[in-house]
């Protein structure tokens, strides 16, 4: 069964702290995508990782991909309240760009 597992599913952080969200996937994929979703809103693309060792950074977020370990991480540096959202990773191994999504990590950053 093709699956994507994120952990933790819920994360409560204090502002200024660092944390990492983990995304394990079951395929041999070298394509991994990260999205953000605010409550009641659509999904926004954050990162596209297309090869082993790929690292992308945007502001306080950094994503990486280790295809040998079938693991992607989303690292949050010095969290701020505006980062509160649900973060999804998705495996792009299937044909025609079909994505397998994880269940999401709901992040809450508190003052």
């Amino acid at each position: 069964e093709l699956k994507v597992e994120q952990n933790p599913l819920f994360l409560s952080m204090q502002e200024g702290k660092n944390y990492t969200i983990y995304c394990n996937y079951s395929t041999t994929s070298d394509r991994l995508y990260w999205y953000r979703q605010d409550p009641g809103k659509s999904l926004e693309s954050l990162f596209v990782l297309l090869s082993n060792g790929a690292v992308k950074q945007e502001g306080r977020l950094m994503a990486s991909l280790d295809t040998k370990a079938r693991l992607s991480t989303l690292h949050i540096t010095a969290a701020v309240h505006d980062l509160s959202a649900t973060y999804f990773c998705a495996d792009g191994q299937r044909s025609q760009g079909n994505l397998i999504f994880g269940k999401g990590t709901k992040l809450s950053v508190k003052p």
């Binding site: 999205y35 809103k41 025609q96 760009g97 994880g102």
Partner: protein, 112 residues
Amino acid sequence: DAGITQSPRHKVTETGTPVTLRCHQTENHRYMYWYRQDPGHGLRLIHYSYGVKDTDKGEVSDGYSVSRSKTEDFLLTLESATSSQTSVYFCAISGSSVETQYFGPGTRLLVL
């Protein structure tokens, strides 16, 4: 923002009635996808299209059909709505099978 609209944005219907959701894009992207989002399940692919009149099933396609007669429009039809199809439906587009997908605003469907 990618030019994607979905209509209607909200709909309440009764069990057994047909429902059609529309996804319209202005980006001329080849790939279009329909997902449903339910608490505890993340997003699950219903159907997708890789070109005009080229469609295929996703992982939760039972009870749904699609059509794509023009590049810009992708229709999702619930032939006979059931309460289990109450969900938020998202359309997504992509220029290739590798590029990221851009999501529409979503349609909230309640089947009573």
